[in-house]
Amino acid sequence: MIQVNQVNKTFQLGDQPVHALNNIQLKISPGEYLSIMGPSGSGKSTLLNMLGLLDIPDDGEYWLQGCDGLALDTVPMDEEVRARYRRDHIGFVFQSYHLIPRLTAAENIELPLVLAGIPPDERKERLQPIIQRLGLEQRAGHLPNQLSGGQRQRVAIGRATIMRPKLLLADEPTGNLDSHSGAEVIELLEELNNDGITLIIVTHDMDLGDRAKRKIRMVDGEIVLDKSREQEPS
């Protein structure tokens, strides 16, 4: 589903070039559950943004499977095509939720459908089961600032999944949450993974990272460790 070849990304910090992604080589199959860990500044977010088509690598190839099952190299793609890809294939969950404050919980979840121009009837149909699954029935009409952190992150997850993407990217989704709501959010994400979605989580939390079936460790823009649980001697 995902094939990353020899991808590099450098940032210019003052007169110091920072190699945020250094010759990244990565292959991810559909339905996988990955965690990315590593020290601060090691390039985890940069990798995730690149995988989510929010950022473009300086060189290398990034093959991503489209809805027709065909994998295409997204690096040379036009920004408008990438936007379409993001809309149809990729869901994002951010550490700081990024909800639109003037829209209610339900409207925030509905937003991708609105942007995609889906008619209201169909939107309602698709919205209802998701709100139920998120346990937000009582909170659907509330504005984000009336919700707890855990509830906000659940709204964000609802928004990330309402377009039924194949790839769900979460950058420190529990970073702003206490351990209880953090666990709830992780359970929700894992449930979605069980349903078949490819899940990639960036986290600093060892316990959370260990729950993933495949763990990647980054240091200084390089993947220094990539191990699947199956290979582990138990």
């Binding site: 379409r84 993001r86 990024h98």
Partner: protein, 398 residues
């Protein structure tokens, strides 16, 4: 994105930033308001001046002392090399195609009646003047038909002047004093507004020969000629010039004007004026446009996170651009409508206040203001909207 959803999204974000929205709305409304109001006032003023001039019939020639060489311009209203005398006027009245002739002397004097006094306009004229100016008598009679060079101590007064001097008392037959001479009131004019700058309601009309004695002058202020047929107008005007030249030792020192030429000269000037004041309004519109640009720029930088989010969710650059531009357009449209409405209300009030001034904004002014407002919104919002649309999503999200 569907249109309804987009409008809803715009309205949400507009109502979210109430202060910003209000400021832009007011700026745009003021711009449009001033364009519409100023053109309305300008048009009203123009119509008013036109109406003033059209008190005179179209078939009237006016002869002024003095000569202005450039044709088509404004004739001099005072001065001149040589007087036009009563004898000149008499000579002109013998020309063909002349129905009547009204020699005029105009001045100011204090008019007294038993202790009350009033500085008022004194017009020396003859009965033809009443016909040409369509003056009507509400009481008594007009000036008598007498030899043009005969002075008589009689006068006709305007209704306002009558009220000032006599209040509700009868005035007919009473004697007025002015500057050492006396005259008996033989008639009172009906209410007849102003025309050519003469406020007939406050005027006192005496025989032209009496006025020449009163002001001790030989020269006429002007001579009006009632032309029999419009077709002969130009020919007559040449004739008049020839006769006057003959009588003034070969020198052409009078100006002959037709109301039509005067009217078109004024019309041109006033039309330019109207355009000029509309341009002032246009400047405020432009300022409003710049304000909208700044506000949209601020809004873009305040909402970079939102823009990044929208792009992360798959909104195309085009969608983001449309969202911002349409937001500005909605503002401009609302502001313009507000401005047009309030200008119309004010013009309506002005019409109530000054019933003889027709303050109506021409439709093209409102249409133009609306178009300029929308274009401003479009052009000025385009730049920031493009900036928003081209933000890379990662940049916007951090």
């Amino acid at each position: 994105m569907r249109l309804q959803d987009q409008l809803l999204f715009n309205l949400r974000s507009l109502s979210r930033q109430r202060f910003r929205t209000l400021m832009q709305l007011i700026a745009m409304a003021i711009g449009v308001f001033s364009v519409v109001l100023l053109t309305g006032l300008g048009e009203g003023g123009r119509q008013f001046v036109m109406a003033e001039f059209s008190v005179l019939g179209k078939d009237i020639l006016i002869i002024l002392p003095g000569r202005k060489e450039t044709s088509g311009g404004m004739p001099p209203l005072t001065g001149g090399t040589r007087d036009i005398t009563l004898q000149d006027a008499q000579a002109l009245s013998r020309l063909r195609n002349v129905d009547g002739i009204a020699p005029l002397v105009v001045g100011k004097a204090e008019v007294n009646f038993s202790g009350r006094s009033k500085e008022s306009l004194i017009i020396g004229a003859n009965p033809e003047f009443f016909i040409m100016r369509h003056l009507r008598i509400q009481q008594g009679q007009g000036l008598l038909q007498i030899e043009i060079d005969q002075a008589r101590p009689v006068c006709v007064i305007g209704p306002e002047l009558k009220k000032e001097l006599f209040a509700a008392q009868p005035a007919l037959g009473k004697w007025l004093k002015m500057a050492g001479s006396r005259c008996r009131i033989v008639g009172i004019l009906a209410n007849s507004g102003t025309g050519l700058g003469f406020d007939m309601n406050n005027a006192l009309i005496i025989p032209v020969a009496s006025s020449m004695q009163l002001f001790d002058t030989q020269g006429l202020f002007r001579v009006m000629i009632d032309v029999h047929s419009l077709a002969g107008m130009n020919k007559l005007s040449k004739e008049v010039e020839r006769v006057m030249q003959e009588r003034h030792e070969g020198e052409l020192d009078v100006t002959v004007i037709t109301p039509a030429s005067l009217l078109s000269a004024f019309d041109d000037i006033l039309a330019v004026l109207t355009v000029a004041i509309s341009a002032i309004g246009g400047i405020s519109l432009f300022v409003a446009g710049v304000l909208i640009m700044n506000m949209t720029l601020i809004s873009v930088s305040q909402r970079t996170a939102e823009i990044g989010l929208l792009k992360a969710l798959g909104a195309s650059s085009r969608q983001v651009r449309i969202l911002f531009v349409s937001e500005a357009l909605i503002l401009c449209l609302a502001g313009a409508v507000l401005g047009i409405l309030s200008a119309e209300v004010l013009l309506w009030l002005a019409r109530q206040q000054f019933s003889d001034l027709l303050f109506i904004a021409p439709w093209w002014a409102s249409a133009l203001a609306l178009i300029v407002a929308l274009t401003c919104g479009l052009v000025f919002a385009w730049l920031p909207a493009r900036r928003a649309a081209n933000l890379p999503p990662v940049e916007a999200l951090r």
